[in-house]
C-alpha cells in the first residue's frame, strides 16, 4: 500500500464541511498491519493501575499492544513492566493473571528472575561457556514505562516523547476525570474482558458518540431510568442537556456534559453531595464545579477511554480487522463506605459491560457496522461531518471523532509532527454564515 492510497482514505474538506472515512480502513488486513507499526507501536498505551500491584511482590500479567507483559512492584516498592517471555527459550514466565511472589520462575527450564528482572537462578549453569552473559539474560523491560496519577503506561517506541508531553492538553481533562468523586482511586475487584466482532476504531468512535445515545440506548435512558423512578428529562426530550465536543490535540478528545440523571444520582444523592462539599473545601468552588458538575467521556489516543459517570477505564486492541478484545475496569475512590461502593457498582453495571443495559446494544451496533462493511466496495464512505462549521460543536456532533481520525491519518502517513486535529479550515471558509444548525453545544460553565 503506497502513501497516495493511504492519503485517499480520508476526505477532510474543512472549508466545505465534508469529512468522510473510506470503509476499507475497517476491513483491510494491510491497514491493520500498518496500524500496529505506525499507531500502536508509536503511542503510549495504558497497561494497568498502580493499585492493582499495591504491595512489593504483587504482579499482574496482561497483553498490551499485542505483547505479553508482567507489571510488578519490586522489593523497594518501584513498579516495573517486563515482557513476559523467558530470555532463555521463550516460554511465558508468569502464567497467573495476578498474584504475589518474590521470584518469577519459568517452569520450562526453571530459570528464575528477581523482581528487578535480574536472572537469579539457572539450574546447571556450570555447563555454559564464559561467554554466557547472565546480566544480559534478565527479563526484558518494556522500552518505555511511565505513570500518570497511578495509571501505568508503556510504549514500544524507545524514542517516544515523555508521557506527560504525549498527554498534552488532555492532562487537564484527565485530572478532572480522575478527581471526579475523589482523587485517591483504586481498581475494584471484578474486571470485564469481552470483545466485539468489529474493527477497533468503531469503538473509538462509539465511546465518545453523543449522537447515538438516545436511539441506541433508549432502553436505558427512557425505560430503565424511568423504571427505577428517575427523571429522564436531562437525557431526552426538549429539556435535554447538551454538552460539547472538544479536540484536545494529539488525537485526544473529550465530550463534556453537565451531569445528568443516573441511578447513583438517585440512590446516593446525600453521599455525592457530601463528597462535593469536601471537594469545595479542598479545591475551592470554581474548581469543584469544573470537576463535579460535569460528566466526561475522555479519549486518550489511540485506545484508552475514561468515562466519569461510570468511573470506568477501558482499552481495546484489534486481533484482526473485524475483531477486537476489550478490557474494562471500575476505577473507584478508595476508602468509601461499602454502601456507596455498592451504589457505584450498581451504577456501573446498569449501563456498562457485556451484560449491562447499554454495552450489549453497542456491541450489536458495531458488529452490525462491521457486517455492513462487507459492502465497502459499493458503499465506500462513512460520514463523520456532523457539526463541522460550528464554532463549538456539541457532544451530539462528531468533532471528537474527527480529532481521532486526523491523528490516525497523520500517523498512518508517517507524519510524526503535531497534527491539527481541529476543524479549523487551513484557509478561511468562503461561507459567510458559519454557525448553522445544531451548533447548540456551548454550555455555561
Amino acid at each position: 500500500m503506497d502513501m497516495t492510497e493511504i492519503s485517499d482514505l480520508i476526505v477532510d474538506d474543512r472549508a466545505r464541511g465534508i469529512f468522510r472515512v473510506n470503509r476499507r480502513v475497517f476491513t483491510d488486513p494491510e491497514i491493520l498491519e500498518l496500524e500496529r507499526r505506525e499507531v500502536f507501536d508509536r503511542s503510549w498505551l495504558y497497561a494497568g493501575h498502580e493499585s492493582e500491584i499495591a504491595n512489593p511482590g504483587d504482579y499482574v500479567t496482561r497483553k498490551v499492544g499485542g505483547r505479553p507483559l508482567i507489571l510488578v512492584r519490586d522489593g523497594s516498592g518501584r513498579t516495573r513492566a517486563f515482557l513476559n517471555t523467558c530470555p532463555h527459550r521463550g516460554n511465558i514466565v508468569c502464567r497467573e493473571p495476578a498474584g504475589s511472589t518474590r521470584l518469577l520462575r519459568c517452569f520450562y527450564h526453571a530459570w528464575a528472575f528477581d523482581l528487578t528482572g535480574r536472572l537469579a537462578a539457572v539450574p546447571g549453569d556450570e555447563s555454559y561457556t564464559p561467554a554466557f552473559d547472565r546480566e544480559a539474560l534478565g527479563l526484558k523491560p518494556v522500552p518505555r514505562f511511565e505513570s500518570y496519577r497511578g495509571m501505568m503506561f508503556v510504549s514500544y517506541d524507545p524514542a517516544i516523547e515523555s508521557l506527560a508531553s504525549y498527554l498534552g492538553n488532555a492532562r487537564e481533562y484527565l485530572d478532572l476525570v480522575l478527581e471526579f468523586g475523589g482523587a485517591d482511586l483504586e481498581i475494584a475487584r471484578g474486571s470485564q474482558a469481552y470483545c466485539m466482532k468489529a474493527n477497533w476504531k468503531l469503538l473509538v468512535e462509539n465511546s465518545m458518540d453523543g449522537y447515538h445515545a438516545i436511539p441506541t440506548h433508549q432502553r436505558f435512558f427512557n425505560q430503565y431510568l424511568a423504571d427505577i423512578g428517575m427523571d429522564t428529562s436531562s437525557w431526552a426530550g426538549p429539556n435535554r442537556i447538551q454538552g460539547i465536543g472538544l479536540a484536545l490535540g494529539g488525537g485526544h478528545a473529550v465530550i463534556e456534559n453537565r451531569a445528568r440523571a443516573l441511578p447513583i444520582t438517585g440512590t446516593a444523592k446525600g453521599e455525592l453531595d457530601r463528597i462535593r462539599e469536601r471537594l469545595v473545601e479542598r479545591v475551592g468552588p470554581e474548581r469543584a464545579h469544573r470537576i463535579a458538575d460535569f460528566s466526561r467521556n475522555l479519549f486518550i489516543f489511540p485506545n484508552l477511554i475514561l468515562i466519569s459517570s461510570w468511573h470506568t477505564i477501558r482499552t481495546f486492541y484489534p486481533l484482526t480487522p473485524d475483531y477486537m478484545e476489550i478490557d474494562a475496569w471500575a476505577n473507584l475512590p478508595r476508602g468509601e463506605s461499602s454502601e456507596l461502593r455498592q451504589r457505584r457498582f450498581e451504577n456501573f453495571i446498569s449501563f456498562l459491560g457485556p451484560a449491562g443495559f447499554g454495552t450489549p446494544d453497542d456491541v450489536y451496533a458495531l458488529e452490525g457496522c462491521q457486517r455492513g462493511f462487507a459492502a465497502w466496495r459499493e458503499v465506500s464512505w462513512s460520514d463523520i461531518s456532523r457539526g463541522m462549521g460550528c464554532l463549538q460543536p456539541s457532544s451530539q456532533d462528531e468533532l471528537q471523532m474527527r480529532a481521532f481520525w486526523r491523528r490516525w491519518h497523520a500517523l498512518m502517513q508517517e507524519l510524526h509532527g503535531p497534527t491539527d486535529c481541529s476543524d479549523r479550515p487551513t484557509k478561511p471558509p468562503n461561507r459567510a454564515n458559519h454557525d448553522g444548525r445544531g451548533c447548540s453545544g456551548v454550555h455555561g460553565q
Binding site: P97, A188, R189, G190, S191, Q192, A193, Y194, C195, M196, K197, T216, Q218, R219, N222, Q223, Y224, D227, I228, Y323, E325, W329, A330, S338, R341, Q342, F345, E346, F348, I349, S350, G353, P354, A355, F357, T359, P360, D361, V363, Y364, A365, E367, R371
Partner: protein
C-alpha cells in the same frame, strides 16, 4: 405435606429448573419473572472472581427484583437491539444437587450449558447455577439465582444480552 420447606427433593428441584429453562428458551419472560421471590437477586459474578460477593466486587449482573423486572420489560419491549430480533437459545441443565436446606431455604447447584445462536454465530455459555430457593404458594421460588460462568473471558461471545 409438600408445603414443608424440608420437603424439597432433588427430583422436584430438577423439574423446577427444567421448566424454568423452558420458559427462558421460549422467551416467556413475564412468566419466568413470577418465579422470583420479592427479595430475589439475579447474580452473574465477574469471570475473574467467580466466588466473590456482589457487595464488594464489580459483577456482570447484580439485579435486585426491581432491576430484574426492568430487564425483563426491556427484553420484551423491542428496544433492546441486541435481542431484537432475539437470539435462539437452548439450555441443558444437569448434575442437580441439593446442598442444604436451612430455615426454609434450599441451597442447590446444577450445571448448565446454554447454546446461543444469532446472525449465524454460535456461542456456548458453560457454568453452574448456585441458587437459593424458597417455597412459594405454588412451587419453589428463587431468592437468589446465581449463574457462575466457567468462561475465562466473554470472548468470542462479546455480550450477555439474554437471561443466563
Amino acid at each position: 405435606m409438600a408445603e414443608d420447606a424440608a420437603a424439597f427433593t432433588v427430583s422436584e428441584i430438577e423439574r423446577f429448573l427444567i421448566d424454568e429453562a423452558a420458559l427462558l428458551d421460549e422467551w416467556r419472560l413475564a412468566e419466568w419473572l413470577e418465579l422470583m421471590a420479592p427479595d430475589a437477586r439475579y447474580l452473574v459474578p465477574p469471570l475473574d472472581a467467580p466466588d466473590a460477593d456482589h457487595q464488594d466486587t464489580l459483577f456482570l449482573i447484580a439485579d435486585d427484583r426491581r432491576t430484574l423486572a426492568s430487564r425483563v420489560r426491556q427484553l420484551l419491549s423491542g428496544n433492546t437491539w441486541a435481542e431484537n430480533p432475539r437470539s435462539r437459545t437452548r439450555r441443558l441443565i444437569t448434575n442437580v444437587r441439593l446442598l442444604a436446606v436451612e430455615n426454609g431455604e434450599a441451597r442447590i447447584t446444577a450445571n448448565f450449558a446454554v447454546w446461543r445462536f444469532q446472525h449465524e454465530q454460535a456461542d456456548v455459555y458453560i457454568g453452574r447455577y448456585v441458587h437459593k430457593l424458597v417455597r412459594g404458594p405454588s412451587g419453589p421460588l428463587f431468592r437468589e439465582r446465581r449463574a457462575v460462568l466457567d468462561l475465562e473471558t466473554l470472548r468470542p461471545h462479546g455480550k450477555l444480552s439474554f437471561i443466563l
